[in-house]
Amino acid sequence: MDGATLQQDSQTGAQREAVIKVRNLTNRFGPQVVHENLNLDVWRGEVLGVVGGSGTGKSVLLRTIVGLNRPAAGSIEVLGVDVLDGPEDERKRIEKSWGVAFQDGALFSSLTVLQNVMAPLREHTGISESLMQALGGLKISLVGLPQLSCSKFPSELSGGMRKRAALARALSLDPEIVFLDEPTAGLDPIGAAAYDDLIRELQQALGLTVFMVTHDLDSLYAICDRIAVLAEKRVLVEGPIEEMTKVDHPWVQEYFTGPRARAAQQKGQDR
């Protein structure tokens, strides 16, 4: 646990380790302030759902943590390494310990699905071509894609399959943390539920920490251990979903006690 913070959980008393620590983060685009003094911890082995209204900077937060967006102020630590100002080689090492699945896959359109999944292996490891193919095939099978899709190009896949292929690519280096941007957006309810189950299964089998930006109430009830609500330029509340209904804030109240939330809650209990 090199340098990562251990902390007592206030409720259970168990020790937990923060794999991502965001402190006093401020993000500004011109005059528009997206985040101001935002603080967030992500614990090892949990599935964290980040929710918030449109334009509250959920995706910006994700992009800032993985280094695609430079914040105006604040600090971000991932696995004990300062990803903003830490030493170059440490940051490079950290980049290999996370995987990002973008909203629409962002697969390389000139490569087949298998080549897409093999791309990080080719870049960052010295293993042989045949082992790379075997591991690539394994990841594709783990995310529930048929082996036939190995030789297909991203444009030949459906939206749901593209999302799965993107997850396979994000998992190819066996990262400790997986970032998912709206993983179930645009999927049919059955496909979305299957994808939720997949994330849960993989998270347990591979011991992943999942940082998930989502709008999907079903996902929140089904797989998220904790929820962080972004509002008023900061993390307004964080905690298990049962606590959300008790929060006295108009947006949170509307979000978690509206008719769709009640239906999702029912479904979450049935599962």
Partner: protein, 374 residues
């Protein structure tokens, strides 16, 4: 991280393989060879994993693969000293190992080569039929637009005329000017040898007016506007905008192709004319500097010895070039499929094909006019 290690002991009863260290994807290259070289020879195998500190799916795959290989060889295999988390990971992985991985490399042989040549030939024939069909479709819509001019998208036409014509004026006139300079300079060196400097006027005027002015303008426009047409309509195809248009009852040919082709039809002759004039100016300037042929003398000689037909023969070709460039560019754009990669390929193909066709048509005209004796 500890370096992963693999050691094996053989004794009378069987083989004992000890695996230790961190079995992680990033360091698998160090033990991959050792794993592959393990062969049980039908003996029972004990795999001792008690030294393994951590494992990810890559490491689990190696263990699962080893287990499966020994199993299929008929020997029995035992995993010992396994941590619970690692055991469940190996189980998850071995459940998910696909039957056969990967893409089959395309077969390479005489038959396949012949078959590929055949496929390409058939493909080229189909493309030719398709492009002639597209030419017909475009001409039909063009004629319909002329009969019913209120159907014409005027804003799009004017915008395209600006893009393909007006904005090309600087490059086209500079090119024409330089061609005139080069011709005068090269011609002068040759003609000086037998004191026929004054013929430089005919050399410049006939070659530029009849051939070079319009041909080089068409090549520049093919590279400049042809590529732009293919790239922009091709990207719209990728984004399904063309399909969206069809569902809204809009005809993509009428909305996208006609304004572009018509803009080229109007602007290419004008650009060709500008290139001609710029070429003559460049030639006259160089003749003055290098040969002492004054601009006045150049103009008189030009009027006396160069028929206006030379200019006409050059400009008559312009609409044909324009049609070929426009139709090929738009047809290539319509062939774009799926990825952004395809847009790039089609844009390249569009420019290469239209430049080739412009030169081919120019050659045909050359033969045609010389047969007619003009």
């Amino acid at each position: 991280m500890t370096k992963p290690t693999v050691t094996s002991d053989r004794n009378a009863e069987g083989v004992c393989i000890r695996i230790a260290g961190d079995l992680r994807t990033q360091s698998l290259d160090q033990i991959e060879g050792a794993f592959k070289s393990i062969s049980p020879d039908g003996k029972d195998v004990i795999v001792d994993l008690s030294g393994v500190q951590s494992m990810d799916t890559g490491g689990a795959w190696l263990v699962a693969d080893l287990e499966r290989r020994i199993d299929t060889s008929g020997a029995t295999v035992h995993l010992e000293g396994l941590q619970e988390a690692h055991a469940s990971l190996i189980e998850t992985v071995s459940k998910n190992i696909p039957e056969a991985v990967g893409e089959q490399a395309p077969p390479r042989g005489l038959v396949e080569t012949v078959a590929r040549v055949g496929e390409r030939t058939a493909g080229a024939w189909k493309d030719s039929v398709s492009i002639v069909g597209f030419l017909g479709l475009t001409l039909h819509r063009l004629v319909r637009t002329l009969i019913m001019p209120w159907r014409l998208r005027r804003a799009a036409l004017v915008s395209q005329m600006e893009q393909t014509g007006f904005k090309a004026l600087p490059i086209v006139s500079l090119m024409g000017f330089l061609i005139g300079v080069v011709l005068a300079f090269q011609g002068a060196t040759q003609l000086k040898q037998f004191g026929a400097e004054i013929f430089v006027v005919e050399l410049i005027s006939i070659s530029i007016l009849r051939e070079l002015g319009i041909l080089l303008t068409a090549i520049i426009v093919a590279g400049r506007s042809g590529s732009a047409f293919t790239a922009s309509i091709g990207s719209m195809k990728v984004q399904e905008e063309i399909d969206a248009m069809r569902t809204l009852g809009l005809d993509p040919i009428e909305v996208l192709v006609i304004p572009r082709v018509l803009a080229l039809l109007i602007m290419l002759p004008i650009l060709g004319f500008v290139a001609d004039i710029a070429g003559l100016v460049g030639g006259a300037l160089m003749s003055w500097i290098d040969l002492g042929v004054s601009p006045g003398m150049f103009l008189t000689r030009l009027k006396e010895n160069t028929d206006v037909w030379q200019l006409a023969i050059g400009l008559i070709k312009a609409p044909f070039f324009a049609l070929v460039i426009g139709v090929i560019a738009c047809w290539q754009a319509m062939q774009v499929k799926g990825s952004s990669e395809s847009v790039g390929q089609r844009t390249t193909a569009s420019v290469v094909q239209s430049i080739f066709m412009v030169i081919a048509i120019d050659a045909l005209f050359s033969i045609f006019f010389s047969e007619l004796g003009i």
